[in-house]
């Protein structure tokens, strides 16, 4: 069926509504029964807007009631609701509504910062609701990410399956086909918005809104029970590394690449750099960030090359839960007297962390070294970009998203083995000129990942979404 034919058909129905309103609904009903299921919402949308714009149809309220009821009977009540929502937004009766869901919004993290910055960027043009499963406040989000989200609502949708069984966290891994999908309440909630954004990469939520966006920070699970990622209109990915794994694990093609927001949006002055090698990463219980390995490497370098390492210290900064066997292991190792000039700074406030970034000269990041599980390799590496914005020279593992941030020998060094790491670090310690050159390169590269750059890209994406789904083009 060509677009022209559809236009003519809609015009005939509008004429029918004017001349013989009683016959309109039977004709529409017949059309719904005959037509391809996917075509119907578009045809009905054109018909509704045509009827409203015509201005000559009498008893328009009766006609509209009948039409939406016909849509509900043929395509489901959600489809009728979506049709109505599109008409409202297209005619400018209200702001478009966006729901941004994150099942871990109550926890601090890089992925959550991504979603909150998106809400911050769009809160003036859209009516935004942050959907969470556990309690979280505006103040907490402001403290964690330095974002004022006062114009966004926070709505808590409880998931009875997880609440009733007292799961400490909402773990999608426990969901199998033997149980009803516990994320159905979120799918239902998604149907109340014009655009639904799933910032959890939680593939078990079926989107019911007119347009939907899945933000994937890494596909943690494969296609199995209740897999709906392929039903989203847009799949946004945070790095090329993530995109590669979306293709491998989910067997779908992601649509839009937007790097995460990192660091400040304005420039700032830097104090004098100190002889400090910095690592900023969570002390993961499983040790995936490899701080103990860093301690061992620094210690070995200090022992073998005391001249070069003279005056240098290694500072390990990061968050940790109260009970952390991995952190205890590091502390025990250091207390044995082997690790000199090594400092641990656990759970320090944001301003202190920023101060460390400003003072450090070299930034180490080992995440991914000796790992075979792709999920444990850095998917992007926000801390690396932040260090680079502070003119630290990054020496990071050559894998995952880190390859996309650091350009070898231009804005830092990538290493694949301990031997290479030691050689690159020594090179930097010995050569002041190289250090300064790479520091300038690191700064230039790091500034490509700012919050402002992220906001600009997100705004462009949402303009495209509005254009594709909420602008009347006569026919779909």
């Amino acid at each position: 069926m060509t677009q022209k034919n559809n236009e003519a058909r809609v015009k005939r129905l509008v004429d029918l509504a004017r001349t013989s309103p009683r016959n309109l609904l039977p004709s529409v009903n017949k059309m719904c029964k005959r037509e391809n299921r996917d075509q119907i919402p578009g045809l009905l949308l054109s018909l509704v807007t045509g009827l409203i714009e015509d201005g000559r149809v009498k008893k328009i309220d009766h006609v509209l009631t009948g039409l939406f009821q016909t849509a509900a009977e043929n395509c489901g009540v959600q489809t009728a609701y979506n049709l109505l929502s599109r008409v409202e937004v297209m005619r400018g009766y209200r702001k478009p509504r966006i729901g941004i869901y994150d099942h871990t919004l109550h926890l601090i993290g890089g992925g959550q910062k991504y979603g909150c910055t998106l809400a911050y960027a769009l809160q003036d043009e859209f009516d935004i609701t942050l959907i969470a499963n556990r309690e979280v406040t505006h103040q907490e989000l402001k403290d964690w990410y330095d974002l004022d989200l006062a114009r966004c609502r926070i709505k808590r949708v409880e998931l009875p399956f997880f609440e009733n069984q007292n799961f400490p966290e909402i773990d999608p891994l426990v969901v199998t086909r033997r149980i009803m999908n516990p994320f159905d309440p979120i799918s239902r909630e998604s149907g109340n918005y014009d655009i639904f954004v799933n910032n959890s990469m939680l593939e078990k939520v079926y989107p019911l809104s007119n347009a939907s966006v899945m933000i994937c920070h890494f596909p943690e699970r494969r296609r199995s029970s209740y897999f709906y990622a392929d039903h989203y209109t847009y799949i946004v990915y945070n790095s090329l590394y993530t995109a590669e794994w979306i293709r491998k694990k989910w067997k779908i093609e992601p649509t839009t690449h937007i790097y995460p927001p990192v660091g400040p949006s304005s420039s700032f002055s830097l104090p004098e750099k100190e002889k400090m090698i910095l690592s900023a990463a969570r002390f993961e219980i499983g040790g995936s960030k490899q701080q103990l390995e860093m301690v061992k490497v620094f210690e070995a370098l200090s022992r073998t090359f005391p001249e070069e390492l003279k005056g240098w210290r290694l500072v390990l900064v990061g968050g940790s839960p109260r009970e952390n066997p991995y952190l205890e292991k590091i502390k025990k190792y250091l207390s044995s007297g082997t690790g000199k000039n090594i400092e641990l700074r656990i759970n320090i406030p944001l301003n202190e962390l920023e101060s460390n970034y400003r003072k450090a000269t070299i930034f180490w990041h080992f995440c991914g070294l000796h790992q075979s599980d792709p999920a444990l390799v850095e998917h992007f590496g926000m801390s690396i970009a932040e260090a680079m914005q502070n003119r630290c020279v990054p020496v990071v593992f050559n894998g995952g998203g880190q390859r996309e941030i650091v350009e070898q020998g231009v804005s830092g060094f990538l290493f694949s083995s301990r031997k290479e790491l030691e050689a690159r670090t020594l090179e930097l310690l010995r050569d002041d000129h190289l250090r300064h050159t790479l520091s300038r390169g690191a700064y230039a590269r790091g500034m490509q990942f700012t919050r402002d750059a992220f906001i600009a890209r997100m705004k462009t994406l949402f303009e495209q979404i509005m254009d594709a789904h909420f602008v009347n083009k006569g026919e779909e």
Binding site: R37, I52, G55, I60, D61, L64, T65, F68, A72, N74, C75, G76, V77, Q78, T79, A80, Y81, L84, S85, V87, E88, Y93, L173, T176, R177, R178, N181, D184, S187, R188, G191, N192, Y206, L208, R222, R223, S224, S225, Y226, F227, Y228, H231, K248, A300, T304, F305, H370, S372, D373, P374, A375, S417, R418, K419, E422, A423
Partner: protein, 171 residues
């Protein structure tokens, strides 16, 4: 003026229709019923594509499922999806099972014992496999550490020999 009134009426109408549709949405039970179409939800995992960690998780889940299904004698809930004649169907099913079950009990009891042994055997194999893997991982880690130390020593030797060479030439 007339246009404005009409626009306001339409707006008002859409708003009341929205409320009505919201009410109707709440009454619909399933997600697929909301859009009146079938939604494919389950995919079989390609086991050969899984990483070691993923295989562990998958095996854990499969073992849990097997464990839950060991007892084929456990009472099953008898239901029917039919609205009106469903009650009669359930009654008929209950009657039939009541007659057949005592005859089948001997065979089902044997099947239950077989299931139990099979699941325990699977679990034992899984644990044994895991232990071997852990040992292998520890050995691999040690080999890597030795290699790293060897590299560091070689580097140090190379550096020291370069230095002693420089010192000799200065002398």
């Amino acid at each position: 003026m007339k246009d404005n009134t009409r626009e306001a009426e339409i707006r008002q109408k859409l708003s009341s229709l929205r409320e009505e549709l919201m009410r109707q949405k709440e009454q619909v039970r399933g997600i697929a019923d909301l859009v009146k179409k079938e939604i494919e939800a389950h995919y079989d995992v390609e086991l050969s594509e899984l990483s070691g960690k993923e295989l562990d998780q998958e095996m854990g889940m499969l073992l849990t499922s097997l464990n839950e299904d060991i007892d084929c004698l456990s009472p099953q809930k008898i239901t029917s999806h039919r609205k009106i004649i469903g009650t009669f169907i359930v009654l008929a099913k209950k009657k039939t099972i009541g007659i057949i079950l005592p005859l089948l009990r001997v065979f089902l009891e044997k099947q239950r014992r077989f299931n139990e042994s099979a699941v325990r055997f699977q679990l034992a194999s899984f644990i044994r496999h895991r232990k071997i893997e852990q040992r292998l991982e520890a050995i691999e880690k040690k080999v890597m550490e030795v290699e790293d130390r060897q590299d560091a020593l070689l580097e140090a030797v190379r550096f020291l020999s370069e230095r002693s060479g420089e010192n000799d030439s200065e002398k």
